[in-house]
């Protein structure tokens, strides 16, 4: 141990150095975002709760009940019921997403060939009642308001 080391340790050199770092944080700018008051908009690819997309002109759903999203879903959280419509095409009767199972991997959006289902920017869905997490077709169509991206662009 040289004289320099003794001097450094007796003047608490490295401790003062560390304290200068925290001291600079003390006066510096703060990074807190006061969440409910301020919100950070999610990025375009953000994977929030799904929505079903309808055609803005006709109001019809893009979905034609092909079951591809229900099949690719790794946690089996999509339940689709369909029947044959009057013109012979498949028609969507019910579309249920069980959010208690959903892992937000985005595979449904990615697999869908019609751009009918999409992940939105909605992430505030906590609730006191588990039944609120069973999302029905109407809820999902309504959720279009949170859609924040153009699907066909990718």
């Amino acid at each position: 141990m040289g004289l320099k080391d003794i001097l450094k340790s007796s003047t608490f050199y490295e401790i003062l150095q560390g304290m200068s770092v925290t001291g600079s944080y003390f006066v510096g700018e703060k990074v807190t975002v006061e969440y409910p008051k301020e919100q950070i908009p999610p990025f375009e690819r953000f994977r929030g709760v799904q929505c079903l997309i309808s055609n803005p002109e006709t109001g019809e759903l893009n979905c034609d009940a092909c079951h591809i999203c229900a099949t690719i879903c790794p946690s089996n959280c999509i339940f689709i019921e369909s029947s044959e419509g009057p013109d012979g095409a498949k028609q969507l009767d019910s579309f249920v997403i069980d959010l208690t199972r959903c892992i937000f991997c985005g595979f449904c959006e990615e697999a869908c060939p019609r751009a009918a289902i999409a992940m939105t920017s909605a992430f505030e869905f906590s609730t006191y009642n588990k039944n609120d997490l069973i999302l029905t077709k109407d809820w999902l169509v309504e959720n279009q308001k949170n859609l924040h991206k153009e699907l066909r662009k990718r």
């Binding site: 304290m19 003390f26 510096g28 703060k30 990074v31």
Partner: protein, 334 residues
């Protein structure tokens, strides 16, 4: 009779100051912790979150007071207060201003008790406070709490010694054990304060006081990351709150003592600043030390148990003795 009434008033005022400071200290601790971590700290309750600790208190009071079935009930219940009470007693020794002040026509000493063995009294009360954590940890009947209690006991006892020896240098210089006289010995400007001639003693006393207060980097008794919560593991609700409260009261007392012994107590750094009441100076100095305690806590990691003991016995104790010897030599020669 008037003297007795004045004494009662002074006592109430002292306790009110100590107790009244604590919620704001806790608020400052949380706010400053936020600032040191480049966060904002509490912001919701009251302006800038300043009523945060009152909210905490309301929460703690409304919680269930849980006593473990296998705990030693009475000891478990009384332990928090053992930590709490000696701190108040120490507070009575601190002078807040000059003696014989004329207030509303009464002659008042701005100290509760000008006790001739004040320093000894303070050290003795400090040792008494050890019983709180030790008994609390032992009575909890929990291995983590027991470990915390043992650490706390050993730590406080061993730092008491270097702390005491660090003060002796000042006692030798001031030639008194009375806090009032120690302050008087530092009259004049800040160049007469004892932290300059007694720099080594000051540093030792300051570091040992951190250990006495159980704060980072010496908060081994709680050591959240190691011992869950140390001696407080089984405590909940307001009993836990009283432990916390006691720690902050101790912090107030310790900062008051350290400013009295080494920084001239209520005296202003320059004579012409004496127009500002001594009380304000004392509180200012206390706040400075409290801020320092917080800054250190939110910067440094924690020592290990045996390293803490090494520092206490192998570095601080010899240093304090050497400091005392040198001081005594110089005093006797000069």
């Amino acid at each position: 009779m008037t003297e007795f009434i004045i004494l009662i008033i002074k006592l109430i005022l002292i306790i009110a100051v100590a107790v009244g400071m604590v919620p704001f200290l806790i608020f400052f601790e949380r706010k400053f912790a936020g600032f040191f971590q480049s966060r904002m700290g509490p912001t919701y309750a009251g302006p800038w979150g300043s009523l945060q600790s009152f909210g905490d208190m309301a929460k703690l009071m409304s919680k269930e007071d849980l006593v473990p079935a296998a705990a030693d009930g009475p000891v478990f219940r009384i332990a928090p207060y053992i930590l709490f009470v000696p701190a108040f007693v120490s507070m009575t020794l601190i002078p807040f201003g000059p003696m014989d002040v004329d207030i509303f026509g009464y002659n008042v000493d701005l100290v509760v008790s000008s006790f001739d063995a004040g320093v000894i009294m303070f050290l003795a009360l400090g040792s008494l406070a050890v019983y709180g954590p030790v008994l609390g940890g032992w009575a909890s009947n929990n291995n983590w709490a027991l470990l915390g209690a043992l650490r706390s006991g050993a730590q406080m006892v061993s730092y008491e010694i270097s702390m005491g020896l660090a003060v002796v240098g000042v006692i030798v210089m001031a030639n008194t054990l009375n806090f009032v006289d120690i302050v008087d010995a530092q009259a004049g400007g800040f160049w007469n304060w004892f932290f300059i001639p007694q720099l080594v003693g000051f540093v030792i006393f300051f570091v040992a006081s951190i250990a006495e207060l159980n704060r980072d980097p010496f908060n081994l008794a709680e050591a959240e990351q190691e011992l869950v919560a140390g001696y407080m593991t089984e405590y909940s609700g307001m009993r836990w709150g009283i432990f916390m409260f006691g720690e902050y009261v101790n912090m107030v007392v310790m900062s008051a003592v350290i400013s009295t012994i080494f920084l001239g107590g209520w005296r202003a750094p320059f004579e012409f600043l004496d127009v500002i009441p001594g009380f304000i100076w004392l509180v200012g100095k206390m706040l400075f030390f409290i801020f320092l305690y917080m800054w250190i806590r939110w910067t440094l990691p924690r020592y290990r148990y045996n390293q803490l003991m090494d520092i206490g016995w192998k570095i601080f104790l010899p240093l304090a003795i050497a400091n005392l010897a040198v001081t005594a030599l110089i005093i006797s020669v000069v």
